[in-house]
């Protein structure tokens, strides 16, 4: 009983402590670093649609980046850019745009609202107000794809 208990403790908790000390995760062992990083400066990826008249607006329809969701895509692009893989991020957007064009041609869904998709990485201005795309300190264009 005692030996069995000790074995399970070692198998379960030693890797958990290793993850904690090394600040790395080795699934299923984790140090559960949820929301522990310092918040500033805050940057995030925005996927913007360009209307035929040139006006930009936030895309809210997942169909434009199908089979992704907009949220997941923002996470992915943000992670790629953080790792210095902007070329990969552009490649992702190019392939998604290609899929969207193909789906539009096939008449699978009404995707005629925008003539292009732009991806910006925005550094938001610090302050007490909620983060807003109108208040930023830096706005970098990551990719632009015609639809």
């Amino acid at each position: 009983m005692k030996l069995r208990f000790v074995i399970v403790v070692v198998v379960l908790f030693v890797p958990l402590l290793v993850c904690f000390v090394m600040d790395r995760e080795y699934w299923p062992y984790s140090h559960f670093p949820l929301f522990v990083r310092p918040p500033e400066p805050f940057q995030w990826v925005r996927i913007i649609g360009v209307r035929p008249d040139g006006k930009e607006e936030l895309v809210t329809n997942d169909s434009y980046v199908s089979p992704y969701g907009l949220v997941r895509l923002a996470f992915t692009i943000d992670n790629l850019v953080r790792e210095g893989r902007e070329q990969d991020a552009r490649q992702v957007m190019a392939k998604l745009a290609e899929r969207t064009r193909r789906r539009r041609k096939m008449g699978l869904s009404n995707l005629s609202l925008y003539k292009a998709l732009r991806v910006y990485r925005i550094q938001y201005a610090p302050g007490p107000r909620p983060y807003s795309d109108q208040h930023f300190t830096k706005k970098a264009l990551i990719s632009e794809e015609e639809l």
């Binding site: 958990l16 904690f20 559960f32 949220v71």
Partner: protein
């Protein structure tokens, strides 16, 4: 209490049955819920070797991972079925073992471009621990569910580790409430345009707009609660209240920060007074 007594967790067979039923059903629901959330906005959609392969072909392919990814929906069904079998009481150890093994295929374990998925990990580890438990005994009135000690310790580790890292990596920001405010507003920015929920009602914005003193109380309160959790849980007199507040905290996190804490919900069960060990037996 002798040494072996402290390591054992002896409870009556009737209570063990109730625990098995409650745990199995909550875990089954948690799996279904986590899978629904994960497939909607999270990492299973990203798996570079799965459905996204045509887009992420620069990452490279791995047929093993591709197969695992395709197995996901079937694995979820199998896990839920195995848990129902465990709830009924037919070969519960085997049923938990099956659920544990197939639970490994339910979620894509990679996160976009970095790290691993961890919110569901405690639930999966917990299933393996359940598979080690002798759930019934032919001869005795009591059974020794000894891995409950470890389930409890895992639960405590999740929170204490998170609390320690908050202090270590962004101590002043968390204790001063700034980090909490940031995360609330970030979630509002990231999810509000696609996720029809509390985000669209501006709940996060309202919370972040609370007076500074309240934000400090909430942000600091989260860290203090996480760090002092062992004390609150292992002292029986305050355990029930602490569990209630903790549950409230993770549910609020779920709706404001959109993190599925399903891997944690199931571990609450092992702290309920109804399933506590019979002290008299251990002595």
């Amino acid at each position: 209490m002798n040494r072996l007594g402290t390591l054992s967790f002896r409870i009556t067979q009737e209570r063990a049955v109730r625990l098995r039923q409650v745990y199995s059903l909550i875990t089954a629901l948690s799996f279904l819920d986590a899978y629904e959330v994960v497939t909607k906005v999270s990492d299973s959609q990203w798996n570079p070797n799965g459905l996204m392969a045509p887009i992420f072909d620069f990452v490279g392919r791995s047929w093993g991972r591709e197969v695992l990814f395709q197995l996901q929906p079937y694995s979820v069904a199998l896990v839920v079925l195995a848990l129902l079998v465990a709830a009924v009481g037919y070969k519960p150890r085997l049923a938990f073992a099956v659920a544990a093994v197939f639970s490994l295929f339910c979620f894509s374990l990679t996160v976009a471009a970095r790290g691993l998925r961890h919110p569901e990990a405690p639930m999966i580890v917990s299933l393996f621990l359940c598979a080690l438990m002798p759930w019934s005994s032919q001869k005795e009135r009591f059974v020794d569910l000894w891995t409950i000690h470890l389930q409890r310790a895992l639960f405590v580790f999740v929170f204490v580790a998170s609390g320690l890292q908050k202090v270590w990596l962004s101590g002043a920001e968390w204790l001063g409430g700034d980090a909490l405010k940031h995360h609330l507003l970030w979630a509002q920015l990231a999810y509000a345009h696609t996720e029809p929920s509390a985000f669209q009602l501006g709940f996060n914005q309202m919370l972040a707009g609370l007076p500074d003193l309240l934000i400090v109380f909430l942000g600091g309160g989260v860290v203090v609660a996480e760090l002092l959790l062992p004390f609150f849980l292992y002292v029986k007199r305050v355990r029930a209240g602490a569990l209630f507040l903790l549950l409230l905290m993770v549910v609020l996190f779920r709706f404001t920060l959109f993190v599925p804490f399903n891997g944690i919900y199931v571990l609450f069960v092992f702290w309920l007074g109804a399933f506590d060990r019979d002290e008299a037996v251990g002595t």
